[in-house]
């Protein structure tokens, strides 16, 4: 099987600091790939390079075999890569619908849309409602309510639903459970698996080893700006992973590619 998204030899320098040192990355169709690494290992630079938030100095990224160069997150989104950022990138005062469609609003057909550039609110609300229902998030009753009136888990749900609704190829989730309580984390993990069941591959960045080992198919361990190993979570323990991550243990020769 061919990977859907690959990166080869990515380099990113900030002055004298090298955040990415010829890093590689592979994501296969339909899988959940977890990316772990100690603070400063360069995993967030890797993710930013993939989702278009930074442009690497060297190396190339290919999506379905085509080489792409992203200059903005918007370009990555147009290519089909959606990201759920750690801070969620939601506008608190806007409604759920407005947030889901921010930057890709649906306009009314006919002169109202063409001349008055009027938004098609009912159509957008319907899509939003459908997407939230698909992910079992319809405990949110009013699709028009402001995001800031939602709980942390519900907000995460909206952000995930937005990514799942528009991400045609890849969904990246950055620390989706970091700010949540026990019960809300559980719901978000279920959401991640829901998205996977719908056939979308997911890149999951997390510090939470139990969560990583629970949902990931493969674990990409990042260390000192590059990929150290990719392991199968069923064959290694959490403490092995942490040991590799921190340099206390040598990675296995044959990695789970």
């Amino acid at each position: 099987m061919q990977p859907i998204l690959t990166a080869r030899g990515l380099v990113k320098r900030y002055g004298r600091v090298t955040a990415l040192d010829h890093a590689d990355f592979d994501l296969y169709p339909g899988e959940i790939l977890a990316v772990i690494g100690d603070n400063g290992a360069g995993k967030s630079s890797l993710i930013k390079a993939i989702c278009g938030a930074i442009t690497p100095d060297e190396g190339e990224i290919t999506l379905e075999g085509r080489v792409l160069k992203f200059r903005t997150p918007m370009e990555a989104r147009i290519a089909g890569i959606e990201t759920v950022y750690q801070n969620l990138a939601l506008s608190p005062a806007l409604s759920i619908t407005d947030n889901m469609f921010l930057g890709r609003e649906i306009r009314k057909a006919g002169p109202l849309g063409r001349w008055l550039r009027m938004l098609d609110r009912p159509a957008m609300a319907k899509v939003a409602r459908d997407k939230l229902s698909e992910l079992g998030l319809m405990t949110i009753q009013n699709i028009g309510q402001a995001v800031e009136t939602l709980s942390g888990g519900q907000r995460q749900g909206v952000a995930v639903a937005r990514a799942a609704a528009f991400g045609s190829k890849v969904v990246i989730m950055d620390e989706p459970t970091a700010a949540l309580g026990v019960k809300e984390s559980r719901r978000v993990l279920e959401l991640i698996l829901d998205v996977k069941r719908r056939g979308l591959p997911i890149v999951l960045i997390s510090h939470n080893m139990p969560h990583v080992f629970e949902v990931a198919d493969r674990v990409h361990i990042h260390r000192l700006g590059r990929r150290l190993a990719v392991i199968d979570p069923k064959k290694f323990s959490m403490s092995d992973a942490v040991a590799m991550m921190t340099g206390a243990m040598k990675p296995p020769e044959a990695t789970a590619h």
């Binding site: 938030a53 997150p73 918007m74 989104r77 990201t83 950022y85 801070n87 969620l88 990138a89 939601l90 506008s91 608190p92 005062a93 806007l94 407005d98 947030n99 921010l102 930057g103 890709r104 609003e105 306009r107 008055l116 550039r117 009027m118 938004l119 609110r121 998030l137 405990t139 949110i140 009753q141 309510q145 402001a146 800031e148 009136t149 709980s151 888990g153 519900q154 749900g157 026990v182 019960k183 809300e184 559980r186 719901r187 993990l189 279920e190 698996l193 139990p210 629970e214 949902v215």
Partner: protein, 341 residues
């Protein structure tokens, strides 16, 4: 259900109503939620109350004066519309009054000094407003300078430019009426119509177009907006240009209202517009509030000014009360924001 962690097993027994809402609210909380959803409600209530109180004290005479109040607040409401756009993006524009006056001077002087036909001069005036706004927008969005500082600077520059160019010459009302009556297009009820049309148009744009939603999103959280796909810089520049164009419109209306082109007018327009916006319940932190609130805010100021004048109090009481209103409005804004917690 996914295979839960060992320690999470007990969750199955716990209350399953995590994500639903607590429906038992005190009346105060309900009010808070209502105001959160309807930011223009507070100024509307204050407006209705103040009209009723002044009406009760002054009688019919006061109600006959209401159209007059509309005329008197029209300029600050039009400038307030420009200010609303900017403040919704969490910016501020101190140069609005200066842009208005310079645009009106351009409209007047181009006609009378260079003999251009009035429609061409008016277009030049709008161009002047757009250019000033573009300068603000470019410095703020592209150079990443704080709006307060940028517009503090352009305010001085534009005002000085206005005095240097016009040599402080007033163009008389009678000369305008004879040679370029188009400059005085907005007088009497036309002023009121211009104000309402503009506010309605902007209300539509802000609430029912993608661009309007983007303006709100930028004020709310520019980074989130950028990541969501809003072209933040471009929209910001557009906001300031549009603000400049609206100021030019205000300049045109100002000529109609004063009859003459006077380079010394509009000195306090920036403060008046910010006052209307704040009393109108629009958050200075951006992203929250309705342009309808702004027009209610402007009307509240007008009602207090004329009402207190008709009662015969010292004008300083008006300023004192408006000061109280401003602080109350900001306090209510903070309270409503707590609904999120």
């Amino acid at each position: 259900m996914t295979a839960a962690q060992e320690f999470e097993k007990v969750l199955d027994k716990s209350d399953a109503t995590v994500a639903s809402f607590d429906q038992h609210r005190t009346p105060l909380e309900r009010a808070q939620h209502f105001l959160h959803g309807n930011p223009a409600a507070v100024p509307l209530i204050v407006l209705v109350l103040s009209v009723s109180v002044f009406g009760a004290i002054l009688g019919a005479k006061f109600f006959f004066a209401l159209p007059l109040i509309l005329q008197q607040v029209a300029i600050s409401a039009i400038i307030g519309a420009a200010q609303t756009l900017v403040i919704l993006t969490a910016g501020i524009d101190l140069s609005v009054g200066a842009i208005m006056v310079l645009s009106s001077v351009v409209m007047g002087q181009f006609t009378f000094r260079y003999g251009l036909p009035a429609p061409v001069s008016i277009l030049c005036g709008f161009g002047c407003g757009a250019l000033c706004g573009w300068l603000n927008g470019a410095l703020i969005a592209r150079m990443k300078l704080p709006p307060f500082i940028v517009t503090l600077g352009t305010w001085q520059i534009i005002l000085a430019g206005n005095f240097l160019y016009s040599a402080n010459e007033t163009i008389r009302s009678q000369d305008i009426a004879e040679q370029a009556p188009l400059l005085q297009l907005f007088h009497g009820n036309a002023i009121i119509a211009a104000m309402f049309l503009l506010v309605f148009l902007l209300w539509h744009v802000l609430n029912h177009t993608a661009w309007g939603r983007h303006v709100y999103a930028i004020g709310d959280d520019p980074d989130a907006a950028e990541l969501s796909g809003v072209r933040v810089k471009r929209v910001l520049v557009q906001v300031y240009v549009l603000s400049g164009v609206i100021c030019a419109l205000a300049g045109w209306v100002l000529i109609g209202r004063l009859g003459s082109v006077s380079p010394t007018s509009g000195q306090l327009a920036n403060i008046e517009s910010i006052t209307a916006v704040v009393i109108g319940g629009i958050s200075l932190f951006g992203g929250r509030g309705s342009i309808l609130g702004m027009i209610f805010g402007a009307l509240i100021v007008g009602v207090f000014q004329l009402g207190l004048r008709m009662i015969g109090t010292d004008p300083q009481w008006t300023y004192l009360l408006i000061g109280v209103l401003i602080i109350a409005a900001v306090a209510i804004d903070q309270w409503i924001r707590k609904v999120a917690a």
